[in-house]
């Protein structure tokens, strides 16, 4: 773990005594109606706290609910889905039940978002400077000239060369890596309390991904960040803690080293052994048998049970997220437990 991060956290814990937790997500459920049957729960009881200066990874495969969690934080769950249960608090204030005009003061101001695809996240027909200054002028009380200066500084901060000239440019003139830097600048520009990065490096090539991860690691070391990714390797590089999600639930949540070096949930164990690595070459890769439940399936009990080789009758009941060895695990029979 980087020392920059450690010291940032130490500073944060000194500065804010009770204000240590910035964002608190409490048992949220996002449901999509499906004709006749009970609704499909894209998120089914997710809770976590985000602390000042930390990077929390939300890791999971497609359909696990990690992106939906991010969308629900900004109250932009696509219709007909909606949050039917739970609460979300930003610095102690509820933000899940706000009217639209109040939400606008949060989006882009107190919560910044970096999307996966910078081409859809940016407006193709507006200059980069125009998009950055628009956000500044909306949320900060500054003149246009000041806003432009802020925009320039934001681009410079994320390592865009000749940032001054880039302000006049358009997104299509930039490479994928530079566009993603612009997205990050846009998310940062109003000094938000929390930045959410949704698969921010997924569409990039390995060497460019390394550059963007560097931006997160070095230039955003003090930011409070939620990093959504399917790649455990990416999470390992920049996260302090990770929450592993499966079928709309958090199945394991702990520090990066706890979860990666000593996983407790069978899904985390399976995921880690399915990732091809350089150091151990097995004759065969180790897949997790079966497939995750889809929106059509009705899940009772532990959603991973049908793919789990240790599933027992007890697993027909939903396991709660409980503390095991210092991290939270939702499994009746976590790895290393005595129960057989």
């Amino acid at each position: 773990m980087s020392s920059v991060k450690e010291s940032a956290r130490a500073a944060a814990s000194v500065a804010g005594k009770s204000g240590d937790t910035i964002l608190s997500v409490n048992d949220i459920v996002v449901e999509f109606p499906r004709g006749g049957k009970s609704g499909f729960r894209a998120i089914n009881g997710v809770s976590f706290d985000l602390r000042q200066g930390e990077t929390l990874g939300l890791v999971g495969e497609s359909g696990s609910g990690k992106s939906m969690t991010a969308l629900s934080l900004l109250s932009i769950v696509p219709l007909p889905g909606r949050i039917i249960q739970g609460s979300i608090s930003l610095r102690g204030e509820r933000i899940d039940n706000l009217p639209v005009n109040e939400l606008r003061k949060i989006r882009g101001k107190r919560i910044g978002m970096v999307f996966q695809d910078p081409m859809t996240g940016l407006n193709p027909v507006r200059s980069i400077g125009g998009q950055l200054t628009e956000s500044v002028l909306r949320h900060q009380n500054v003149t246009k000239a000041e806003a432009e200066e802020i925009a320039f500084k934001a681009l410079d901060d994320v390592g865009i060369p000749s940032a001054r000239d880039r302000l006049k440019g358009y997104p299509h003139e930039l490479s994928g890596g530079l566009r993603q830097r612009v997205m990050i600048a846009l998310a940062l520009i109003n000094h938000p309390d929390v930045i959410i990065a949704d698969e921010a490096t997924t569409s990039l090539d390995a060497t460019i991904q390394a550059q963007i991860l560097d931006v997160f690691r070095v230039r955003l070391s003090k930011a409070t960040l939620i990093m959504i990714t399917h790649d455990l390797g990416v999470a390992a590089e920049i996260c302090d803690r990770i929450a592993v999600m499966y079928a709309g639930r958090i199945v394991e949540l702990g520090t990066i080293s706890e979860v990666l070096t000593n996983p407790k949930h069978p899904y985390t164990v399976g995921l880690l052994s399915a990732v091809p690595r350089f150091d151990v070459r097995r004759p065969k890769l180790v897949p997790i048998p079966g497939t995750p439940p889809t929106a059509e399936d009705i899940v009772r009990g532990c959603p991973f049970a049908p793919r789990c080789r240790h599933a027992q009758s007890k697993c027909e009941e939903r396991p709660p997220l409980e503390i095991v060895d210092g991290r939270q695990v939702a499994c009746w029979f976590p790895r290393g437990s005595n129960a057989a």
């Binding site: 495969e61 994928g176 090539d205 060497t207 590089e237 164990v269 097995r282 997790i288």
Partner: protein, 359 residues
């Protein structure tokens, strides 16, 4: 344990028998706006032996997919040869290609766009059989049922439509289709990059199983070096349409010689806490294949580039058995991870089987 013996024998990637498929000095250019040429692939040579897996790695724009598609004759090569079972197919016309197409098959990246959404799976799998006069309707139906079984799909899949399958299942269908005519060679272009990790491993294992059993040559094109290392006998690394390094998989990963290979290895995130220690971050983006840098194509991003690299293009030189590199200062950049030490080590039973979920 025989499987282990097979993958750890020193011969891995060092076979010398004739190639089943060999692209020789393949060159593909496209016309770019303003009358300029886009050099997608510039004198690439790659060969695959029966039952061998060769991984072709590179970033987007490196020309790896163009190599695949040119071998499949979707693009006309501007230069070079494509030998398949000893015969040059680079300029064969469609009529003469037809019998070869059955033996040389392809699996595409996106199982959503590579299957016609309105065709039942039976029709998808029967199409190549019909086109190649496989036999009576009954014989074709039997073959379809057999193919579904081979790739691990339920028998009633035949009546269903692609939309009723998940991404992983669709990719199984694509593999079944590629197998329909008992090919000798399969080219798989990013066959698992659209799939989740837990499913990825299923498809890769399926491809490997079939390949070993049927002695099919496999050319895997992928950007994920860790994945390619796991499954390939040999690896070819491409940059901007050219080959920069080649060798047995363990050699390329354990003792990379080209600075680009080193950077690529170091850029691959590993799921270990603090895995970023010796990260080499390349500056800039890969250049355009229309306006290629002079000398070594990699020199503007290379951490060890010198004056010579700006003007003189390093040739692809043989530096050992089945080992090639195109760099004036090959081997100067140390490997990012100490992998070589791992190679001699026998895997423990637990490592072989994968971790027990609860021990």
């Amino acid at each position: 344990m025989s499987a282990q013996a097979q993958t750890t024998t020193p011969e891995r990637g060092l076979r010398t028998d004739p190639f089943l498929l060999e692209a020789q000095d393949l060159k593909v250019t496209f016309r770019a706006p303003g009358g300029r040429k886009l050099h997608a692939v510039d004198t690439i040579s790659v060969g695959v032996r029966p039952g061998e897996t060769v991984g072709l790695v590179g970033e987007s724009g490196s020309g790896k997919s163009t190599v695949a598609r040119t071998i499949m004759r979707a693009y006309e090569p501007e230069g070079g040869h494509i030998f398949f079972e000893g015969k040059d197919i680079a300029h064969l016309n469609e009529r003469h290609l037809l019998p070869i197409r059955g033996k040389l098959q392809m699996v595409f990246q996106d199982p959503y766009s590579s299957l016609d959404p309105r065709w039942t799976i039976r029709r998808v799998l029967a199409e190549p059989l019909v086109a190649h006069n496989y036999g009576t309707r009954q014989k074709i139906n039997e073959r379809v049922d057999y193919l579904l079984k081979v790739v691990g799909l339920p028998a009633d899949s035949a009546q269903r439509l692609p939309s009723q399958f998940s991404g992983g299942q669709r990719q199984r269908i694509a593999v079944a289709r590629a197998l329909a005519l008992e090919p000798k060679m399969i080219i798989a272009d990013e066959p698992v990059s659209s799939l989740d990790v837990s499913i990825q491993a299923q498809i890769i294992n399926l491809l490997r199983d079939l390949q070993e059993r049927l002695k099919i040559g496999l050319l895997i094109i992928a950007h994920d070096l860790a994945l390619v290392h796991q499954i390939s006998d040999r690896i070819v690394v491409m940059y901007l349409g050219e080959e920069v390094e080649e060798g047995p998989a363990d050699e390329v990963v354990g003792r990379p010689q080209h600075p680009y290979t080193v950077a690529l290895l170091s850029a691959t995130p590993v799921p270990e806490p603090g895995g970023d220690n010796k990260r080499i971050v390349l500056t800039g983006d890969p250049p355009s294949p229309i306006y290629r840098p002079s000398g070594c194509r990699f020199h503007p991003r290379c951490p060890i580039a010198r004056d010579r690299c700006k003007t003189e293009k390093p040739p692809l030189k043989e530096i050992g058995q089945a080992r090639k590199v195109a760099c004036w200062y090959a081997g100067e950049m140390p490997a990012p991870r100490d992998l070589w030490a791992m190679q001699g080590k026998a895997l423990t039973a637990e490592e072989l089987a994968g971790p027990d979920l609860r021990s």
